[in-house]
């Protein structure tokens, strides 16, 4: 506690820096994953291609990726760009798969109804498919946000300061409080961001809020009758997210 009292300013600065650095990969990852996820969802040929590629990228351990990216991209080894690109790669890898799953979770009948009503495919994607895929997309985004925040700490190895600085510096100087503070701070901001995303999701997608009235059931999918549509898709997203556990 005395350590924290003496160093709270540094912890605060590193926390802010940490958040700043993690936002970019999360946002870019989400945006890039929309077309990739769509392509994976829409065409059988590209589905295998995209999902295999992102699966392989996700397999690469973070430290190895930090080492291999600079010569590939002509970047300096000790640079924030190196770490941010690596984290973006992981975010895209996770999110493309989640996006494909999310689009698949949309009832094909609804899609067909929209087409029958004369929606162009572009307009249907943005006004029907995308919002209805929202809950599963959100589940994916939350996984991406949390794992990005946690992974960023490894960047300290290649000289990019974040809350990971507290681990490394604390370990080298034998200050347990510093390491402990770092771990707790990372977990806290990850969980706070996760919560904020969930709240934002409930606000943006009012239809996913738990309603008081009887839930409309989809008679074609009796598997979903037990859990309700979102719970079933959440369970799938969870299982999927877990299969893609974060690389350290």
């Amino acid at each position: 506690m005395t350590w924290l009292a003496a160093n709270w300013q540094q912890v605060l600065d590193l926390t802010i820096l940490h958040l700043q650095l993690s936002i970019l990969p999360i946002v870019i990852g989400f945006l890039l994953a929309i077309p990739l996820g769509f392509v994976a969802f829409r065409y059988k040929l590209t589905r295998g291609l995209v999902l295999t590629l992102v699966g392989l990228l996700y397999t690469i351990p973070s430290l190895a990726l930090f080492v291999i990216l600079p010569p590939l991209l002509g970047l300096p080894f000790l640079s924030a760009a190196n770490v941010l690109i690596a984290l973006t790669i992981y975010a895209v890898a996770l999110m493309s798969r989640a996006t494909a799953d999310a689009l698949e979770s949309v009832d094909p009948d609804i899609r067909q109804a929209a087409t029958a009503m004369g929606y162009s495919s572009w307009r249907r994607f943005w006004t029907v498919d995308f919002p209805l895929a929202g809950p599963v997309l959100l589940a994916g985004l939350r996984v991406v946000a949390v794992s990005t925040i946690s992974l960023l700490t490894v960047g300290v190895v290649v000289g990019v300061d974040s809350l990971g600085y507290l681990f490394r510096n604390g370990y080298q100087r034998g200050i347990l409080a510093s390491v402990l503070t770092g771990v707790i701070a990372v977990v806290v901001i990850a969980l706070v961001v996760d919560r904020l995303l969930a709240i934002a999701g409930a606000w943006l997608m009012p239809w996913t809020r738990p309603s008081k009235g009887p839930r409309r059931r989809n008679p074609r999918d009796d598997e979903q009758q037990e859990h309700g549509p979102e719970k079933a898709s959440q369970a799938t997203a969870l299982a999927r997210g877990e299969q893609q556990g974060a690389p350290a």
Partner: protein, 245 residues
């Protein structure tokens, strides 16, 4: 691309393949840590996951654990545990951390595998007079195998990636050459060992992908695949492949 040539030269240099700290020794250290942690994690997580999946109790706990675990920074956890137990016991400390990190995906795989089974299948098993124990072993466990192997797969990858960081607490493994390379500014060594690490991760991933595929029970592969609830993508893939062949 010169750097990559240097890295391959480092990899091909016979000096790096013999004696202490040689590449084979680093690989076996890496695999030993991985195996210890994954086996320990599986011993805890698989029974727990099956219990949750079979009874349906404790689902929220499992979801919360796997959600919160993703937020744990493996790097910091490693340093924290090594400092807590002392540098002399850093090996066991690292194995404990690796085990903690491997538990959530394996737990999720075990319980999601059981939860994804069509309730009608389980009800049918109960209706023909199977005991709960028989339902678990003869119906739920075999049907849940693919997702369980999926969980093991991501657990293994998580651990392999974290063992790389174990080099920062002087535990060897393939990360050692990266850490030493950073200190000595030997880019060929860093890149060479990074390539080795990536190859190792990809090989293990492929191995588990194969296990995952072969874990689909024969009866499920043969037909009626649409009734077995797994992840939608896989369900569709299984249904399609069994429909066309």
């Amino acid at each position: 691309m010169n750097l990559f040539l240097d890295a391959f030269a480092w990899l091909a240099d016979s000096v790096n393949w013999q004696g202490t700290g040689s590449i084979p020794q680093r690989i076996s250290e890496h695999l030993l840590f991985t195996a210890l942690a994954v086996v320990a994690a599986a011993a805890v997580a698989i029974p727990a996951g099956w219990a949750i999946g079979h009874t349906g109790k404790g689902r929220e706990v499992a979801v919360a654990i796997s959600g919160a675990a993703r937020a744990l920074p493996s790097f910091g956890l490693l340093f924290l545990f090594v400092m807590l137990v002392g540098v002399l016991l850093r090996g066991p400390a690292a194995v404990v951390v690796l085990t903690i990190l491997a538990i959530p995906p394996i737990l999720a795989g075990a319980y999601a595998g059981l939860e994804a089974i069509d309730r009608r299948t389980v009800d049918a098993a109960r209706a023909v007079g199977m005991t709960e124990w028989q339902i678990l072993w003869k119906v739920e466990v075999p049907l849940g195998m693919p997702l369980l192997f999926g969980g093991l797969r991501s657990g293994v990858l998580q651990v392999v990636a974290t063992v790389v960081l174990a080099a920062f607490v002087n535990l060897g493994g393939l990360g050692f050459d990266i850490v030493q390379g950073i200190a000595l500014r030997r880019y060929d060594q860093m890149l060479g060992s990074a390539l080795l690490i990536i190859a190792l991760a990809l090989i293990l991933d492929a191995l588990f992908a194969l296990l995952e595929r072969n874990a689909v029970p024969r009866g499920v592969r043969a037909g009626r695949a649409e009734d077995v609830r797994t992840a939608p993508a896989r369900r569709r893939a299984v249904a399609e492949s069994s429909a066309t062949t």
